[in-house]
């Protein structure tokens, strides 16, 4: 099956359209079946993936607008493969855990459409195609927040949409400018990423384009000071919206840095490490503090996401294999862990319709299984070794240490500050005496919730103890990426900073 990737992208679309005809009562089973099939399909993709090869696989290329070099051009490498799998997994988990009663059918169909755009973004190798999926992904999320959200849902949804859309428009200008430069250098039009990789740009052009792309990605990540849409979006979104938003949508931004910024503008990326790192440090430290000040559990997790994304960006700009591969791994682990944490917050919200910490306390007594899973995810979130959270955080920080020990030490406070706000949540929510009588009889996790959470716990432990199946392919593709950046680099600074690993230097012909 050579067009497995196309099937993977468009199967949820077709299934979603058919979903309109499915009976209201069986829509839940239908949604789970489709998402499970999609997830299995993505696992099959992994099974058929040649883990020893660094380049793009399952490549398909069909001309769309040949005059402008726009193609239907898709493929995955070690970097995108696992983000695709994570997208299908989190969609499945999100649908399994759905507790929404009203308009369930619309919700499931929307989630399937959202899945199309997510897989599409990470599989696109044509920049126009990427941009289309990127923008389309806003619509289902806008609908999810706007239709199923909390009291301020419209404000949150519109803010999310306009803010990220504005950033993307700047990126679009960057894309068009790049294509124009490509045309003026080579005489042909092309929007194929692989063609773009081969283009050498003068430093000035790189600078402007770097920042244009940066703005689009930074708002998505979201990086300080463009982050304030996120707490609103999470605060108002239904659980499943937060899960997908935190697990997958934010990763589009950091994925953009890895896939576009670094290889397209290696010199500019190196030249602007310091400003980017400083923004990342603000994200790490400042949002960790803001997270600590929150009284609403969901807001703690929301701000903690921003803090962790800071570490991811830092790892990406480490310009060495350790840091970049670590940041890609951290994208996956943060997706799993923050997704799980949002699901966990959803659990008590379903029971008590509040997420405020002072409404709880002593839950470890009445909901022991829930407390255990929350505890495991907390430990993964604070980066405990042998959980999935450690590998990426450690590698990202280790990678950036080579660039700047001092900045890494500041970023490293993330392991302290993360423990501060997460343990505070645990203490206020789960420990101490039960202060509210009704909390004594809160039911522990039910079957549906266990089905959603236990697989995530298993992944957290599995990839924490043995990350190799995932880290290996990421490592391969990252080595090739760094090699490419090093070859393309024109300034001395970039040549020195981009550090090719000794192993890959040997392998290169």
């Amino acid at each position: 099956m050579s067009n497995i990737l196309t099937v993977l992208i468009f199967f949820p679309l077709v299934a979603g359209l058919f979903g309109f005809m499915v009976n209201q009562k069986s829509i839940r089973a239908y949604g789970i079946a489709v998402a499970a099939a999609e997830f299995l399909l993505s696992l099959w993709l992994w099974m058929s993936f040649d883990t020893s090869a660094a380049g793009m696989q399952f490549v398909e290329k069909l001309p769309l607008i040949p005059e402008f070099g726009i193609n239907y051009y898709i493929g995955v490498d070690g970097i995108s493969l696992f983000i695709v799998i994570m997208s299908t997994l989190m969609t499945l988990i999100g649908i399994v855990a759905l507790s929404i009663k009203e308009n369930l059918k619309n919700m499931i169909i929307t989630l399937l459409f959202l899945e199309v755009t997510m897989v599409g973004v990470f599989a696109s190798l044509d920049v126009i195609l990427f941009y289309l999926f990127w923008e389309f992904s806003l619509v289902p999320m806008l609908y999810i927040i706007g239709a199923w959200g909390g009291p301020k849902k419209l404000y949150a949804a519109v803010k999310f949409f306009i803010y990220t859309f504005a950033g993307s428009l700047v990126m679009l200008i960057g894309i068009l400018a790049f294509a124009y430069l490509y045309h003026s250098q080579t005489g042909t039009w092309s929007f194929s990423l692989t063609d773009w990789y081969a283009l050498l740009l003068p430093f000035d052009a790189q600078t402007w384009l770097f920042w244009a792309f940066f703005l689009g990605f930074a708002i998505k990540v979201p990086m300080f000071p463009f982050h304030t849409w996120l707490p609103y979006a999470h605060g108002q979104a239904p659980t499943v919206g937060s899960v997908i938003l935190a697990a997958v949508l934010l990763k589009m931004g950091t994925y953009g840095f890895v896939r576009f910024s670094l290889p397209l503008f290696p010199d500019a990326s190196v030249a602007y490490i310091v400003p980017v790192a400083i923004i990342s440090l603000i994200m790490v430290v400042y949002t960790a503090m803001v997270a600590y000040a929150q009284k609403d559990i969901k807001q703690v997790i929301a701000y903690s996401s921003i803090s962790h994304m800071g570490v991811i960006v830092l790892g990406t700009f480490a310009m060495n294999v350790e840091g970049i591969a670590g940041s890609v791994f951290l994208m996956l682990s943060h997706g799993i862990v923050s997704g799980a944490l949002f699901l966990l917050v959803g659990v008590i919200y379903d029971r008590k319709h509040t997420k405020m910490m002072d409404q709880f306390g002593g839950l470890a007594y009445s909901m022991p299984t829930y407390a255990t899973i929350f505890g495991i995810m907390t430990m993964a979130a604070v980066g405990l070794p042998l959980t999935i959270g450690f590998v990426g955080e450690y590698l990202s920080l280790a990678g950036f240490f080579k660039v700047s020990p001092v900045l890494t030490v500041i970023a490293g406070t993330s392991i302290i500050l993360g423990a501060v706000y997460m343990l505070t949540v645990l203490k206020k929510t789960f420990f101490g005496p039960i202060t509210h009588e009704e909390n004594k009889h809160l039911p522990d996790l039910d079957g549906k919730e266990l089905w959603a959470l236990v697989p995530l716990v298993a992944i957290v432990v599995w990839l924490g103890v043995y990350p190799k199946p995932v880290l290996g392919p990421i490592d391969n593709s990252t080595k090739a990426l760094v090699q490419l950046m090093h070859e393309k680099a024109q300034t001395d600074l970039a040549k020195q900073t981009i550090s090719v690993s000794k192993n890959s230097a040997k392998e290169a012909k």
């Binding site: 803010k159 306009i162 803010y163 300080f224 982050h227 304030t228 849409w229 400042y286 503090m289 803001v290 600590y292 000040a293 929150q294 060495n320 294999v321 350790e322 591969a325 002593g362 470890a364 022991p368 255990t372 430990m379 405990l384 070794p385 042998l386 450690f390 590998v391 450690y394 590698l395 920080l397 280790a398 240490f401 080579k402 020990p405 890494t408 030490v409 490293g412 406070t413 392991i415 302290i416 501060v420 343990l423 203490k427 789960f430 420990f431 101490g432 005496p433 039960i434 103890v465 043995y466 990350p467 190799k468 880290l471 290996g472 490592d475 990252t478 080595k479 690993s501 000794k502 192993n503």
Partner: protein, 631 residues
């Protein structure tokens, strides 16, 4: 051999997982028995490895599987058993076995009995990973693992509520657990930075390779690495200024205090320094700094123990103080002496703590020694055990502490660091005093507990049989000093005393023993006949300073925790909401208003359209003229 290594390592993990299966069900005696047996198996395997190494001094290596392999980083789950590891493994599993068995008694009525064993065995597993790993990142796994288990166990009675500091200086179990975790994390960042420095400069994290290539590092870099690693050690071993968590950690069940916060986990920092001896040997100035800090902590902690009324806190401060001794020895280059004191201390301190557990049970969890007294009558066997342990702790011949502590003092003398010697000597006297102050306050004098309607009872006989190995070792371990030295120095540097010290040895022993005995006598005269409280002393500045831990916890609260919370609130409410987000909304509103204003242009009125048209024409003409003029 490899099989034995894996049995020693994984038996505790199996034990923990087995107990976890029953975590949410009713107390199951089987859990306690199976867990104790499995830890016992781990002990037997460890001891066999130790004996094997004594016969054939060749380290055993085992490579389980890859862990993090990225770029040039190649970290595996690799384990090694050399002399240092074997000693640590044997000490850890021996104390763990005793503590597991003891917990069957101590936790017998606890509703979370099964859960307790799951955590306790998980701790043993983490500790084994810590000491057996053959690389720094593997050590870090164990390092964080013991931290989490400590967090779980300190906060074991999570249902208790927060109190003010006057009621409970540790506030609550869950508070103390978080404090311990967070303070350790501060130090862990240091350790992590040390690991980064080693990786980027040597390209490997395996001990063997790192220590073989130390000559590639500049002196400054080695100093930096040495300091970074030691910062990590300071957290785990609760050295000043990261010491406050240890006393608060006494909120955990007493077997936990005995195992984790006395015998094993807190010695991990000492282990790290001993393990990295090739590094610290090349940077003696850092070693000296470690020794000075250790010496300071020894007397600093001992001073707080002098006046404390809390049964467990006294022992906790004494642990802190003894850790100071170990660092003093390690810092001065006498690594095997530090390891020797570590082992001896583990035995008698665990014994002391478990004895205190008996007292707590008898006293219905009362910890105030001023409410005890005269317990010898009811609890003769506990008195015997705690008395033995205290004698050992005070360094009285022929008990274990005499040999280990005296050797440290000899080392300090031998190094001509007489200041360190003097402070440690003085601390030895203080140690003897507070140890026996405790013994006498609890077991001798008037029976003050009767006022409170407490009917003490002695622990079961089998408990004392279970504790017997510790008691025996506390007595005889010192006689193995020579054998221990030969064994340990196959791996660690030999430490030679000078001729001069050899001549002085008898004088040193007499002087040290004299101050220890005077400490005991002083305690006897003050407390053995009953408690006579002197309000003048208790209200004095010095007394209050000591009993409030030099006001350091309050200082931390006011200078760190509270400002951090306030700053966090400002960051959120003043900056994030009022500045960052308000700016975004402001821009959006401006655009919206701009839209409102410009909409008026399209009011459908033809004459106003003409007006706009004319205005536009004039503007365009002006721009055209201007641009021509500029050109």
């Amino acid at each position: 051999m490899e099989n034995l290594l894996y049995i020693a390592l994984f038996a505790p993990l199996v034990s923990s997982l087995f107990a976890a299966l029953f975590a949410q069900s009713q107390k199951n005696l089987l859990v306690g028995i199976v867990a104790s047996l499995l830890i016992g198996v781990s002990f037997v395997a460890s001891a066999t490895l130790l004996l094997e190494l004594a016969q054939n001094p060749k380290a055993i290596h085992a490579n389980l599987m890859d862990w993090i392999v990225v770029g040039d980083m190649d970290v595996r789950f690799g384990f090694t058993v050399d002399q240092v590891t074997a000693v640590m493994m044997t000490v850890v599993t021996l104390v763990s076995t005793v503590v597991h068995i003891y917990s069957n008694y101590y936790m017998e009525h606890d509703r979370s009995y099964n859960r307790f064993f799951s955590y306790l065995s998980a701790f043993v597993f983490s500790m084994m990973v810590l000491v057996m790993s053959d690389n720094f990142l593997g050590l870090f796994i164990g390092w964080e693992g013991v931290g989490v288990c400590s967090w779980l166990l300190v906060g074991f009675w999570y249902h208790k509520k927060d109190e003010t500091r006057d009621v409970n200086p540790s506030i609550s179990p869950s508070w103390a657990a978080n404090e311990a975790f967070i303070m350790n994390r501060i130090a862990d960042l240091g350790l992590l930075v040390g690991i980064f420095m080693i990786y980027w400069n040597l390209g490997t994290l395996r001990y063997e390779e790192v220590f073989a290539h130390l000559d590639q590092l500049s002196h400054g870099l080695m100093v930096a690495i040495g300091i970074a690693l030691f910062i990590g050690a300071m957290g785990k071993s609760a050295q000043f200024p990261l010491h406050t968590w240890l006393a608060d950690a006494m909120e955990g069940p007493t077997p936990v205090s005995a195992l984790i916060h006395a015998a094993t986990m807190v010695t991990a920092g000492v282990y790290l320094v001993i393990r990295a001896n090739p590094l610290y040997s090349t940077i003696p100035e850092v070693g000296y700094g470690i020794a000075v800090l250790g010496t300071f902590v020894a007397i600093f902690a001992a001073s707080m123990a002098l006046v404390n009324r809390d049964l467990k806190r006294v022992i906790a401060y004494s642990t802190l103080s003894q850790l100071g001794y170990m660092f003093a020895a390690a810092g001065l280059g006498a690594y095997w002496v530090a390891l020797f004191h570590l082992a001896a201390h583990a035995f008698f301190k665990a014994l002391l703590f478990l004895g205190a557990g008996n007292v707590m049970h008898a006293m219905h969890d009362e910890l105030d020694m001023f409410k005890m007294g005269g317990l010898k009558k009811e609890m003769g066997k506990t008195f015997l055990y705690m008395g033995l342990a205290s004698l050992a702790l005070s360094g009285i011949y022929p008990l274990a502490g005499f040999f280990s502590k005296d050797t440290i003092l000899e080392v300090a003398f031998n190094e001509h660091t007489y200041g360190i010697w003097f402070v440690l000597w003085l601390t030895a006297g203080m140690t003897a005093f507070y140890s026996f102050r405790q013994v006498f306050l609890v077991f001798l004098g008037d029976e003050r507990y009767k006022k409170y309607g407490i009917h003490p009872h002695e622990a079961y006989n089998w408990v004392f049989i279970a504790l017997a190995p510790l008691a025996i070792l506390a007595v005889i371990f010192g006689f193995w000093k020579e054998e221990f030295m030969h064994f340990a120095t196959q791996m660690l540097p030999v430490y030679e005393m000078s001729e001069h010290t050899h001549h002085m040895v008898w004088i040193l022993i007499i002087v040290t023993t004299a101050i220890a005995v005077s400490g005991i006598l002083l305690a006897y005269f003050k407390y053995a006949k009953g408690l006579k409280r002197d309000p003048k002393v208790e209200n004095s500045f010095a007394y209050r300073l000591l009993s409030n831990q030099y006001y350091i916890p309050i200082l931390y609260e006011n200078a760190v925790s509270k400002p951090y919370a306030d700053l966090s609130n400002i960051a959120w409410q003043a900056i994030d909401m009022k500045v960052v987000d308000a700016t975004v909304d402001g821009i959006a509103k401006t655009i919206e208003k701009g839209g409102d204003v410009s909409r008026q242009a399209q009011d459908g009125n033809l004459s106003s359209y003409l007006k706009w048209l004319t205005a536009g024409l004039i503007l365009v003409t002006l721009i055209a003229v201007a641009s021509v003029a500029i050109k």
